[in-house]
Symmetry: C2
Subunit: 310 residues, 2 copies
């Protein structure tokens, strides 16, 4: 196997796949590395309503199959290796995977992010079956229903507020005795009459059959347990970018998201970032795809010498 | 008909449609105005290979039907009126269409852009049938074939260079005796041995049967005519944003594209722009869709009071 190509794309979620499509069409030689399944977080999504052009209500796994078909149609191969370290030697990049060493003129990092998990019984099994990590993605499916949100930071309170406009009732469950979110968000939250907040409360177990049915909550002061039966449970305790490969190599923000400009240039010439691993205004499938396209065209310009502006 | 809603979205190309999808899912009340057909420039696209998730090679009109289905599934109505003027009265927006006056708390401008046309016989008929206005969109379909590019500015030269990597031969046809593009682009162009430049030359007619077959070229000095038989003709004489509605109301760049930040905020609070009418790093379907989503979430935050960050 040849070890040197124009470009290396790290990750085959929607950002990396879109970058690969644009790179193929531009005639670049590249590797696309993905140690797991094509589609990344798509695989955890039950239904997708907000990616214009694909049928409303498509499943995440159908969407991921669509991406696989896109790659196949353009003869793009995925190399099933995990990228572990990237180094630069005067404009050339050495990329170490779990099984070999590769070299390229440019690298696109599209490694995604992972939602922090509660790590409780039932969480994994009911993800996409009532349990979600993204109100903006899945909130609409709970129109007129009862939902619960876990967390106490800005994201949790924002998600509770967003859901309050859609759902019949929202219960915010937080393990501390006060929220950590910004004041104006808290004020807004307490002004809603379809929102209830449970303090000192931790979700201990998620139960159901085919779909979420019940959550078991423990009060961490008096250790009493209670039960709620929301149709949806949104876990909003944080997101962790998969940026370990970029640590000490590229500029990251305080939460370790990669910092780029609008051309997806990172702090290092010849390296671009796209999708959930990047600090960005909106974390969605469609924005990740767009960023993959932009990163790929930026890479093309850099590698081929500065052209194609539109 | 009610004349006041939270939000008004101007234009139902892919940016406006995506904004509408996000607005519906967030529970906003809105109008979506489009005087012509849903899908905008999509209708001129023969084949789409670079919008991840939809089948490779889908036609523009299939894609536009997909957008119509998305709107239908979410019960989003399109109001068939042309927006002619927007005014602000202390945070409320008056939107004048060709038949009535509407009011809202926010406006998303997604009016798109139009490629400048040569205005010659055959141009309209063969658009999408060999004639294209975007090398990055359609260049790949001419792999190993002969193509011609019309124009002499940066975009034309960049497109010729891009095509030179894909096509067997590229002829650049320019009406003046020298190129207007940046020096380094010209140098790069003249270094390619599969690129030929015809100066003082104007395409006068496009001929074919089902597909482009021949172009008639006039030398504007000696008035001699000649003929070329490329498989593809790329017209790269400029793009005009459909921003007339924003003139004197919002900040535009020197080419009249709307200036925004990465949240799609224009120079006026309560007004956002998305898609081809906006100054942006990459003019593509996927970037327009992404911008529609971002603009819509920014509008939601503004209208509902500052929340939902991810």
């Amino acid at each position: 196997m040849e070890k040197y190509k124009d470009l290396i794309i790290v990750g085959a979620g929607i950002a990396g796949v879109t970058a690969a499509i644009y790179a193929r069409r531009a005639g670049l030689d590249f590797f696309l590395f993905e140690p797991a399944t094509i589609g990344g977080q798509l695989l955890y999504m039950e239904k997708i309503d907000n990616y214009s052009g694909i049928p409303t209500g498509s499943s995440g796994s159908d969407f991921a199959s669509g991406l696989k078909d896109n790659l196949k149609s353009l003869n793009i191969e995925v190399t099933s290796q995990r990228v572990e370290r990237i180094e630069e030697d005067s404009g050339k990049f050495q990329v170490n995977t779990d099984s070999s060493l590769y070299e390229s003129k440019g690298v696109i990092i599209a490694t995604g992010a992972s939602f922090k998990k509660l790590g409780i019984k039932g969480e994994e099994g009911y993800t996409g079956k009532g349990v979600s990590y993204c109100a903006l993605c899945d909130g609409f499916f709970f129109k007129g229903k009862e939902v619960a949100v876990v967390g106490g930071g800005n994201t949790a309170v924002e998600e509770a507020l967003y859901l309050a406009e859609i759902a019949k009732k929202v219960t915010l469950i937080h393990r501390r005795d006060r929220l950590r979110s910004l004041d104006y968000l808290q004020k807004e939250l307490f002004s809603k009459n379809n929102v209830e907040v449970m303090f000192n409360s931790e979700v201990k177990e998620i139960r159901g059959e085919n779909f979420l049915k019940e959550i078991i909550i423990e009060n961490n002061k008096d250790k009493n347990t209670s039960s709620l039966t929301p149709q949806g449970l949104f876990i909003a305790i944080g997101v962790r970018p998969n940026s370990v490969v970029a640590r000490d190599f590229l500029s990251l923000d305080e939460k370790e998201f990669l910092i780029t400009d609008e051309y997806m240039n990172t702090s290092r010439k010849g390296v671009w970032a796209a999708g959930d691993c990047r600090k960005r205004p909106l974390r969605q499938l469609i924005t990740a795809a767009s960023e993959g396209a932009i990163a790929s065209v930026s890479a093309y310009k850099h590698i081929r010498g500065g052209y194609i502006s539109s």
